[in-house]
Amino acid sequence: MDRLTYGEEELLSSVAYDEPLIANGVRCHGGFVGGIYRSPRSVGRGPAISAWQAQLGARGVPLIAIPPELVPPHYPSAAQAVLLLREGVREPLVRTLTTIAIIEGFGAMIRDQRVPDLSSCVREPLDGTATAHLTAGLFEAHARDEAGHRSEGGHKQMWEVARDLALGHPPVPPDVLMRLMTGRRGAARRRLFPALAEPLEELLTVMVNVMVIEVFAADTFRWAEVVLGDPEVSAAPGPAAAMVGYIRSDETPHVEYLRTALSELRACTLIGTGGEAVTGTEVIDALLLRTLRALTTDRPRLQREETRADIATAVASRPDAAGLQRRFDALEEEWVPPDVEARLAGAIH
């Protein structure tokens, strides 16, 4: 059987690159081996995750899987975005790309996520699992991927590079931070399992949220590769789209370690503060359902409304505003929030 225990340095170690990834004057993480991009921190992390997943498979424990049909499509669509850029309406997209970059950077806060002593709140031993390695390298690797580390930029900087390559160093709208901070704030999370220790429920909630967000990001990558890779509107279609592709491949281990750890905990028995037993299935499934409901219904609907309003404002200043708005609307793709419960029934198993 593959090795199941890894040291932190192993999980943080990267291959020796023939050539580092430097784009637009910015040194990013990762690099090239034989001309092929290799993600950072993949030497130990990749095999470790494979080994933990194989262990689950050997025990007959299923891996959590989010049905792809739940992923809300990016708005505006790629076709709409290309139209706007072609017509010189760039600000909404610059704002979107900059916001994506900043949010990626905040992904580094996962390293500060408090992890309780799991031996006191999980009945089964966790040695040799992904869960046991969360604070032994996995969260730190994730954080460094998102925000960068020392001289190597992470996904935050890589999104900025992609934006700048494609759109020629556009001025960043000065309201980016304002919108980020004054947009919908996370509502105070109601506890679903007050019998559990709060730090445990918080940890599981954060892991579920991050995993879902990372899964849903796949559509954003697809969208960005199309838009920033379009030679009609991008100043550097090849390099810009490639950069997005590198980010996308870097994100794979994030989804995998999170769904592995959550699947492990789902198969465990969790112990409440009063000694009561709660199945991991009950807890993880409930948290997952809540997150998926929020991120597949109200949130994307509100985001679409806000973005539409933004775009309408930007378009309104154009001399051909009415015509451009009509052409934009003609490309609108209908989106109906999915029935999360129905789609999830049986999907996890």
């Binding site: 580094a108 935050k156 704030r185």
Partner: protein, 428 residues
């Protein structure tokens, strides 16, 4: 002692300022000249110099407390400029609190009546003769409008503009003389210009009223910030009447707990407010000292005193964010870029000293910067800058750094952290 429009008092003030300035300058220069004359190396060690700085700082402090006026404000500015002045000056002069003995009520009454154009009783049903606060430029009285609404009335001292004008002239003369006499002078005149510009703004209460309204508007959809409503009909350039609001002082931990509040949550709210103002809105109440911050039993924060409110240039908030982010990731190249965005510059145009500053910040922040501007960090920044005086620090950064530093201090009292990055994280 403040001076009325009295030439003798003015002369006394000028003479005292000049005497203290000469004593301070002389304490540095005379030993230097003596050593040079005797062709002897100056072996005064670090401890001796620190003691000398301490003595001189105390001289200036005593003078400011006695004379008040511009000098109090000048000391407060020096107390924030760790990039220019030795730590002993910063430490002593930052104690120069704006809390002074009140002026006689008759002076205050006369000022209000002059400004509002009638006897007090025309405008107020009650007007407390005892102020609730007295500072270097004005004092605040509780009052009740004729319609029964409680108000706070901030009244500028009648002679303060003359005092400040005279002090500005005296201090400018001293600075010019120093720059002419000294072979290698500190560049003090820009600091003085900055101070006098701010002071002129603080002395116009109409501006403070506009600042308060602006901040209230910024937070109008966010219920956790309260800004007193300005009573414009009873406000002029020298009198500011506003809604009287009560709350617990933000650093009164026992009082907060007695009100059922969690000090850590209060700190979180306060940090969020300042992060929004500085990074998001680009306009902030730049004096978050505990006397200007009250907390309601609901946990809402009352912001007071908008005399020192600052509009930041576009992109500055993003620059601060990028600086903090680069410190979090220990990325020197990104830090350097952030410094440039923020307006740091070297007088020679050579960026290598900024790289050195970036490196020091990275060393101090850690083993990792976690979102809080600690004293160690800002001290490291300013120590590096003092050693390389070719670096010019944008005054906006100094003001923002001071504000975050004050918040960190409040955080220590409340047993919580002023974590800027946490406060701006999406979903916070």
């Amino acid at each position: 002692m403040a001076a009325a429009r009295n030439p003798l008092s003015r002369l006394y003030r000028s003479a005292r300022i000049l005497r203290v300035a000469a004593a301070v300058y002389g304490s540095y220069k005379l030993p230097e000249l003596l050593h040079r004359a005797l062709r002897r190396p100056d072996r005064r060690d670090r401890a001796a110099r620190a003691a000398q700085h301490q003595r001189n700082a105390e001289r200036i402090f005593d003078m400011a407390i006695t004379l008040q006026g511009l000098l109090i404000k000048m000391c407060q500015v020096i107390g924030t400029r760790s990039d220019v002045f030795p730590p002993e000056y910063v430490q002593v002069l930052s104690q120069c609190h704006d809390r002074l003995p009140p002026r006689p009520f008759e002076q205050i009454r006369a000022q209000v009546e002059r400004e509002l154009g009638g006897p007090l009783t025309d405008f107020f049903a009650e007007f407390s003769p005892q102020p609730i606060a007295a500072a270097s430029l004005a004092q605040v009285h509780r009052a009740t409008r004729r319609d029964g609404r409680p108000v706070a009335v901030k009244v500028q001292y009648p002679d303060i503009e003359d005092i400040v004008r005279g002090d500005v002239a005296d201090v400018t003369r001293v600075c010019r003389l120093y720059q002419w006499v000294d072979r290698n002078p500190l560049d003090l005149l820009p600091l003085l210009t900055e101070l006098t510009t701010h002071l002129a703004l603080e002395l116009d209460f109409r501006r403070e009223a506009d600042n308060a309204d602006r901040v209230r508007e910024l937070f109008k959809d966010e219920g956790y910030v309260v800004v007193p409503r300005i009573e414009r009909d009873l406000s002029t350039r020298r009198v500011l009447t506003m809604e009287f609001l009560e709350g617990t002082k933000v650093t009164d931990v026992a009082g907060l707990r007695a009100a059922g509040l969690n000090p850590a949550e209060v700190m979180q709210t306060l940090t969020r407010i300042y992060v929004r103002m500085i990074l998001a809105y680009g306009f902030f109440q730049a004096d978050p000292h505990p006397g200007n911050l009250l907390v309601r039993p609901s946990g809402h924060i009352i912001l007071l005193d908008f005399g020192l409110a600052k509009a930041l240039p576009p992109g500055f908030g993003l620059g601060i964010f990028e600086l903090m982010f680069s410190m979090m990731t220990l990325n020197e190249a990104a830090m350097l870029k952030a410094f440039e965005v923020l307006g740091f510059a070297t007088k020679t145009g050579d960026a290598k000293w900024l790289v050195e500053v970036a490196r020091r910040m990275v060393e101090v922040s850690g083993k990792r910067f976690e979102g809080e501007f600690t004293e160690d960090m800002t001290e490291a920044l300013f120590a590096a800058i003092r050693e390389n005086p070719i670096i010019s620090v944008p005054s906006d950064f100094v003001l923002v750094g001071r504000a975050f530093g004050l918040l960190t201090g409040i955080g220590h009292t409340l047993g919580a952290r002023a974590n800027v990055l946490e406060a701006m994280a999406p979903g916070s």
